[in-house]
């Protein structure tokens, strides 16, 4: 006998993500899920953002890594609340890990929560966490063809930060071709070319973030 099911395999995760979102909304926290490959500059962007906003905005960070507390230690130096999740080999954060991490943060004292996902352009795009914005970083040395190779990541992201633009003179990365590729499949996406090293372009990113926080 055949039984129709038609149920999403990730339902259990999505339900927990929904609960996370409710908890964040109740406390007035705006959460951003930051995804990228390893070394694209997620932690650098978070640190630059903290440096520019910490006097105006109460920020907290959840760090996801397979192992180590290197990133959490860097964030910890800024005296921002930080929770490290070690996934122990898992390639992405899932909603349940975030649910546990939220228990370790005082949500009522937070305006903006960065969730730094595990460095990986594949799996994090499939697992909802409950964040308000899906965001990704691509760094210029990775190449402008990445939207074609990892389409799910580029369609799931609402904001894309293109980092390491200070390296453009040394690379074949074509910013125009990259933007065309991304917008070709995700027309509403915001793209911010920046350099976390020199600070170029960061003002636009910060302005967008401040506007998003006001509208939350």
């Amino acid at each position: 006998m055949k039984v129709k099911v038609l149920q999403n395999i990730l339902d259990a995760n999505n339900q927990i993500a929904h609960r996370n979102r409710e908890a964040l909304d109740k406390a007035g926290v705006f959460a951003i899920n930051i995804m990228s490959s390893p070394g694209a500059g997620k932690t650098s962007l978070i640190l630059q953002t903290i440096a520019r906003l910490k006097d105006k905005v109460r920020i907290a960070v959840i760090e996801g890594d397979i192992a180590s507390t290197i990133d959490a230690d860097k964030i910890g130096k800024t005296e921002i609340p930080v929770v490290q999740i070690n996934t122990g080999g898992a390639c992405h954060l899932d909603a349940n890990m975030i649910n546990n991490a939220l228990d370790n943060l005082s949500l009522k004292d937070i305006d903006l929560l960065f969730i730094e996902n595990v460095g990986n352009l594949v799996c994090p795009a499939e697992f909802k966490l409950g964040a308000h914005k899906q965001m990704m970083l691509l760094s210029t040395p990775e190449g402008d063809d990445k939207p074609y190779k990892y389409p799910l990541m580029f369609t799931e992201s609402e904001v894309i930060v293109l980092n390491k633009i200070d390296l453009l003179p040394h690379l074949d990365f074509d910013v125009k071709a990259f933007k065309k590729a991304v917008r070709g499949i995700n027309p509403g996406v915001k793209i911010f070319p920046v350099s976390c090293k020199t600070g170029e372009g960061l003002d636009d990113w910060i302005s967008w973030l401040e506007a998003a926080l006001k509208g939350r």
Binding site: K2, V3, K4, V5, N13, H92, L152, G184, I185
Partner: protein, 113 residues
């Protein structure tokens, strides 16, 4: 590489539906997976054999229906499978596509006794 947790989720869904149908055995689980997902069929089967061995789903056959990525041009409405390095519409030439298929990830049905 997250097939283990995904396979557990899929098995849980199948067991729950089998229980609702008062079935004593699950003989097949039919899955629909879009090609944009990063799931590897052999890997799911491997974990499934391990996870299901003490359940009524033990020995069930998994079938995978793969759905190719398909996009629709927002400008002229033409649906097409995108080329690997260009997402422009073959009909009108615009770059304004919306993904309409390829992200599926669900249990379509189970076969039970």
């Amino acid at each position: 590489m997250h097939e283990l947790s995904v396979t557990q989720g899929m098995l849980d869904i199948a067991l729950e539906k089998a229980k609702e149908a008062r079935a004593s055995r699950i003989t097949a689980i039919n899955l629909v997976i879009g090609e944009m997902s990063s799931i590897i069929d052999d890997c799911v089967q491997f974990y499934f054999d391990f996870l299901s061995k003490d359940s009524i789903a033990s020995g069930a056959k998994l079938t995978f229906t793969r759905i190719p990525m398909q996009v629709r041009c927002r400008s002229c409405g033409f649906s097409f499978q995108p080329d690997k390095t260009a997402w422009s519409c073959p009909q009108c030439g615009k770059w304004d596509a919306q993904v309409v298929a390829g992200q599926e990830f669900y249990v379509e049905s189970i076969e039970v006794e």
